[in-house]
């Protein structure tokens, strides 16, 4: 498959990741996930812990361990299927064409190497820059992501920077070679709220400036509302609903999406109103071949939910994996 100029930049098809254990059953962490993302577009992968969203991103980047993990499906980028590329070709693409920002900036930076080295090593690896040129480029980069006094910061170690600064530094490293795809795996989870907003704003600006495609992995619907064009909601390794941001927020159809939206605390709710969690926990899952994995926690459960897996169907501009979806506005009796 080759991409035409107008086609998606990254085309993930039927991505399936299985963890195998000696003497134990296999675990299918990601099961037939497909999505496309185009330049300048932001795609959200949403779901709670264990839904497979991080594993999806690691599989796309080729960062899963080779042992005891099997990755199937296709990840087309620039006409190549990344899953079949030789390891060294994949190393050339990582950090240059596709980059990733991780969740915890404290543990994602090497504690015993100065920030400067951790930034310049990307230039050295992919752009043959060395010495003063690489240092200058690194200082400019830190300045661009909003780190004041970059010359001094380059010499410092991660523990000397605040959490927000560290995340900016990680973003700088990811953006060093102006990647065409940027994957951000919960980049704001470890930060406090005011810093979260700044980091999201920064990502938004950078994507707009460079025309990169952004894949935003999050469990925070607030982040999705502020940033994403399209949203894929994942549950137990499968996409259960995907739609444009407006449609999804205005009218969630999958009961899980509805539950996620209802569980967001609202400022306009009456004082003392109880929070509305989704009952049960993500460990109460049915295995997909036996029916809908969400069925054990689903308020809309009917008999048809169990027995066979619900198919992913296109319904009115969105895709949905549910046999008894929430009603649309027209369907709701007045």
């Amino acid at each position: 498959m080759t991409n035409s100029a107008t086609g998606p930049l990254l085309d993930v098809r039927d991505l399936t990741v299985t963890f195998t254990r000696r003497g134990g059953p296999d675990t299918r962490a990601v099961d037939g996930v497909s999505f496309q993302v185009s330049p300048g577009q932001t795609l959200g992968l949403v779901g709670e812990s264990g839904s497979g969203k991080s594993v999806t991103s690691l599989a796309v980047m080729g960062l899963l361990p080779r042992r005891s993990v099997s990755v199937e499906g296709h990840v087309y980028f620039d006409g190549d299927d990344l899953l079949t590329l030789p390891r060294d070709r994949m190393r050339d693409i990582r950090g240059r064409d596709m980059a990733m920002v991780f969740q915890d900036p404290m543990t994602s930076l090497n504690p015993v190497v100065p920030i400067g080295v951790q930034v310049t090593e990307v230039f050295e690896r992919h752009q043959d820059m060395t010495g003063e040129a690489a240092r200058k480029a690194a200082a400019e980069l830190l300045d661009r992501v909003g780190i004041p006094d970059p010359g001094r910061r380059l010499k410092e170690y991660p523990h000397q920077l605040s959490g927000g600064m560290r995340q900016r530094a990680l973003i700088a490293m990811a953006l060093a070679c102006r990647p065409r795809v940027l994957i951000a795996d919960e980049p704001t989870t470890a930060l406090d709220v005011t810093i979260q907003a700044q980091i999201l704003e920064l990502l938004k600006d950078l994507v707009q400036d460079t025309g990169a495609a952004l894949i935003m992995i999050t469990h925070d619907l607030g982040v999705v509302a502020g940033l994403c064009d399209t949203v894929h909601v994942m549950y137990a390794g499968r996409v259960v609903e995907s739609a444009g941001r407006r449609e999804l927020f205005a009218e969630p159809r999958h009961p899980y999406t509805g539950g996620l939206l209802a569980s967001v605390p609202r400022l306009d709710a009456p004082r003392g109103a109880p929070l509305q969690p989704i009952p049960g926990s993500p460990t109460d899952v049915l295995s997909w071949p036996d029916g809908c994995a969400f069925a054990p926690r689903c308020p809309n459960r009917i008999d048809a939910c169990t027995g066979a897996p619900p198919p992913l169907e296109a319904i009115g501009g969105r895709t949905l994996r549910c046999v008894n979806p929430l009603p649309t506005a027209e369907e709701v009796p007045a």
Binding site: G95, T107, P111, V113, E121, V122, M173
Partner: protein
């Protein structure tokens, strides 16, 4: 940094003072005494009294101790009753020998242990890993004197590859300005003498290195296994860095921190642990001399040597703490 070093050096005083008290009474608690050891069981009381008077052993203990202390601070530890030469002279003869042996053993343990531990971790669960784990278990479990005899029998007696004992061929015409025979040969331009000293070092160094080598392999392996799963190694992979850059800069620099501590502790132990090896290979060093001093109740030698060994131990550990700060900026002392 300087403050830290000075503070630690000042601590050396009280440590050595306390140790000197313990030592003073410990050597006198040994059954018999230097006079009996020198003159034998059947010596007359008069001749014993004469010897005791000669060495001041008939004085009350507090007089003996204060004399010992006032002379010790001037680095005078009295005369050996075994050889009747000043203890400091015996130190000048034996310390370089043991120092040379300990350094050779440590170099061997580090040069082999760290790469082997790293490779074992990288081949986790495969034959190389199993071999190095089993091998290091054997290295710790086999008594040093047994290993020393085996090495000597196989490689010196049977195969004749190495000399069986001593530090240098006695027929060798060599000068010894420093007492470090390998270095002496280089300094005096007598490379043949250097090479002969190296050949004499090989087997004892192997025997002495067995335990530290095994420990270094184990620690390096465990530490690398921890570090390769750290988030910052994943970040480095996401940058598309070459594997050797990741290994050197991101894995080893972090994984070696605990190894440095162990190497320091082992370095101190080598000095006191060389007794068995030196005895088997008739290597004229500290361990052998101190062992003889114990059976001869050579108070002056025991007191002096053990104090100096303790001081060395403290200094080596100080050096380890300082070097730790050089590798890990988080513990760098201000």
């Amino acid at each position: 940094m300087l403050k830290f070093v000075v503070r630690r050096l000042l601590l050396l005083g009280p440590i050595l003072l306390g140790l000197s008290v313990l030592l003073f009474f410990w050597v006198r608690a040994l059954p018999g005494g230097p006079a009996v050891a020198l003159l034998g069981e059947r010596a007359t009381p008069e001749s014993l009294a004469r010897v005791e008077q000669l060495y001041g052993l008939n004085q009350p203990w507090y007089v003996q101790y204060s004399k010992f202390l006032t002379r010790a601070v001037q680095l005078d530890f009295g005369n050996s009753t075994q050889t009747n030469r000043p203890v400091t002279e015996e130190m000048a003869r034996t310390f370089p020998a043991t120092f040379e042996l300990a350094v050779a053993a440590l170099l061997l343990a580090v040069a082999v242990g760290i790469p082997l531990g790293y490779l074992a971790a990288r081949h986790y669960g495969r034959w190389l890993d199993n071999l190095s784990v089993t091998g290091s278990l054997l290295g710790v479990a086999i008594p040093v004197f047994f290993l020393a005899y085996i090495l000597k029998y196989v490689f010196a007696v049977r195969l004749g590859w190495f000399p069986t004992q001593g530090r240098q061929d006695p027929r060798m015409d060599a000068d010894h300005p420093t007492g470090l025979y390998v270095l002496d040969g280089i300094l005096t331009g007598n490379l043949e003498a250097s090479w002969d000293a190296v050949m004499h070092l090989v087997l004892p160094a192997f025997a002495l290195a067995s335990i530290p080598l095994a420990i270094i392999v184990r620690i390096t392996r465990a530490s690398v296994l921890d570090v390769v799963h750290e988030d910052y190694v994943r970040t480095a992979e996401a940058k598309g860095l070459w594997e050797r850059t990741i290994t050197r800069r991101h894995v080893l620099r972090n994984a070696l921190l605990p190894v440095v501590t162990v190497v320091g502790l082992q370095a101190g132990l080598l000095f006191s642990g060389a007794i068995l090896t030196e005895t088997v290979f008739a290597f004229d060093g500290v361990g052998r001399f101190v062992a003889e001093a114990i059976s001869n109740r050579d108070y002056a030698v025991l007191q002096g040597f053990i104090l100096v060994i303790a001081a060395l131990y403290v200094l080596i550990n100080l050096a380890v703490d300082v070097s730790y700060g050089l590798i890990d900026p988080r513990v760098r002392v201000k």
